[in-house]
Symmetry: C2
Subunit: 347 residues, 2 copies
DNA sequence: CGCGGGTTTGTAAGCGCATACATGACCCTG
DNA sequence: CAGGGTCATGTATGCGCTTACAAACCCGCG
């Protein structure tokens, strides 16, 4: 009553199980007529090869894995809040890019969000199922990391630096540097505020350093830390602006935000207190999510090639799979400055 | 030189492989001290249980699958166009919802986009790897469907009806019905145009029928088909508006669009020819993607619980996994009318 | 007619784990 | 102190497939 196996098909056709197996693994090595008979018997019986058995016998699973941070689980009430969806934009593109590249290379993709407090277990659980694993922007416990890395190729995407592990990141520093330069040079601003992310976000911190570097280059006063911080959500952006305005003092000419969502929040908050953007204050984001093109005014930002991040992850994993002795690699993907309206560019 | 196995761990600790296996599968059946010794040996050796072997021995993989349509692959130039990302919004929420529910129930999630012309193969390939499979909004070849359905639980999400298969859909008809009622009753419109999707999209067609029903209810003239059709992209929305305006004739008071993206396109096109929304013409969408809240004017729409769709899929698959003889089920998830500015509601 | 060389198929040995069953240690009861 | 019950562990088998190796077959040619 179980599912049919190679044995059933082989018996039906009157060949050995090896022949059946070969029909699937190396069709050319089987005579065309035999192949057809096997395939048609398989169809009649409803035979589907078991990936578990194949994996066990051949020692590869044909699946790659992606672990990403578990963006705060939206409370059950899903109809009401787009909050969950909003936060996810970043990761979704990586997932899609990785899926696309994996499929093109003949691999499947297993995904798993990892709650911060169970990151290790999540990772270990995937490790047994895949041939290679990509870890996205999160803190991964070093102990598990070591164990898993010994077993299969690992690549860290846009997260912390781990000695000995392959790594792909995005040019956060460069991107923010060039965006800030644009504000300083092309628009002539000299009083900018930075709405930062959490201190433990390496990406957000790198962007802040890019911001600092641009000020440094112009010989302007160097802020030691972001003017305010938030958790990278739209709500945080709104709050940050309120805070900044409450604080009084000279109003900045521009708000440089650690990501697009905070920038979108900032736009909303400014609209509510009738501060015109970009007329009275410029606003910029970072990431290049679709949202940025839709808000009004459209958001000047730095586009991160998130899809590419996923694709490169696949390439890197497969390269290491092909040669475990490859030197540890590290790639930095370039970003693109997207000038839209919120900085005062365009009409 | 291969990865360590139960044998290595067992030997190291001086127990049998059965004990090692039990430490992972049913920890309580092993004496606490033995368990600790096994776990620490496993850590030292870098042992990670092989899911393939486990799957083969226990006949379950602990993984669920999701096949979704392959939204037109964005050309390599990824830095420039958000088009790919835009189209994907719909599926991403399903992926996340399904991943979340699967993880909660102790399952992994394997995903695969299926190009329309390779849907069957895609599906078959997944079938060997998972315990249950969800198929999202696409046409799946009946032959493969039969074969696969015989082997494992299958659930069709928001797609065509397949006799004998579990199914979950969204209340497209009801949603569009109530949105259209809102336009007719609350805003007093009586000349509405419908921007439809492709004829082979069951969802888009169901929405159109909901639209018709509302007109019918009011005794208005019943259009036989959408005033124009498009492929559900922003670009298609723009084109549809241009077409409609070119056509001349009395201008409709409102544009009812088959989805949010076309509605967003319509908004852009109307802005370009300086037709005020909602002043001169109302516009509505369908889906409830985050984009809709960000465009200006914000989009009145019908929110689909896409995350729920994914979660329900998991529940349905697990239910059938627990009892293969369950009667074939079909759920319809309710939608929510979201009144925003583009219809004339709100300030 | 036999033989070398290529092609197609069969034989058989695992792959790493789960688990039914057997074993043994230990405790309790009478 | 024998008998029965529990708990912890060991033994042994098989899950469904891949693959090295061996065998069978076919062809043409000397």
């Amino acid at each position: 009553m179980g599912s049919p196996t190679v044995y059933d098909v082989a018996e039906r056709v009157g060949v050995s199980i090896a022949t059946v197996s070969r029909v699937y693994r190396s069709p050319d090595s089987v005579r065309a007529e035999t192949r057809e008979r096997v395939l048609s018997a398989a169809r009649e019986l409803g035979y589907v090869p078991s990936a578990s058995a194949r994996g066990l016998a051949s020692r590869v699973t044909g699946v790659l894995g992606l672990c990403f941070p578990d963006f705060a689980e939206p409370a059950a009430g899903d109809a009401a809040d787009p909050q969950g969806a909003e936060l996810s934009l970043y990761g979704d593109e990586v997932i899609r890019g990785m899926e696309r590249a994996a499929r093109r290379r003949g691999y499947g993709l297993l995904i798993s969000a990892a709650p911060a407090d169970r990151a290790g277990e999540s990772m270990a659980e995937m490790a047994g199922r895949v041939d290679g694993l990509a870890l996205l922007a999160q803190q991964w416990p070093a102990a598990e990391l070591d164990v898993v890395a010994r077993r299969l190729p690992l690549v860290v995407l846009a997260g912390q630096r781990h000695p000995g592990l392959d790594r792909i990141e995005v040019a956060n520093f460069d991107g923010q540097l060039s965006l800030t330069r644009h504000l300083l040079s092309d628009h002539g601003f000299d009083r900018l505020a930075f709405l930062g992310g959490p201190e433990d976000s390496p990406d957000a911190e790198a962007r802040f350093r890019g911001f600092q570097a641009a000020l440094l280059e112009r010989g302007l006063d160097l802020p030691e830390r972001p003017d305010t911080r938030g958790d990278l959500t739209v709500a945080a952006g709104r709050k940050a602006v309120a805070e900044l305005l409450d604080r009084g003092g000279p109003r900045p000419q521009g708000l440089v935000c650690a990501n697009d969502q905070m920038a979108a929040g900032a736009l909303q908050a400014l609209a509510e207190v009738s501060i015109r953007v970009p007329g009275e204050m410029a606003v910029t984001g970072f990431d290049g999510i679709p949202l940025g093109g839709a808000v009004s005014p459209s958001l000047t930002t730095v586009r991160q090639p998130m899809g590419r991040l996923g694709e490169e992850a696949v390439e890197m994993l497969l390269a290491r799979l092909a040669d475990r002795d490859l030197p540890v690699g590290s790639r930095t993907l370039p970003t693109v400055l997207v000038r839209r309206m919120s900085c005062g560019c365009s009409a």
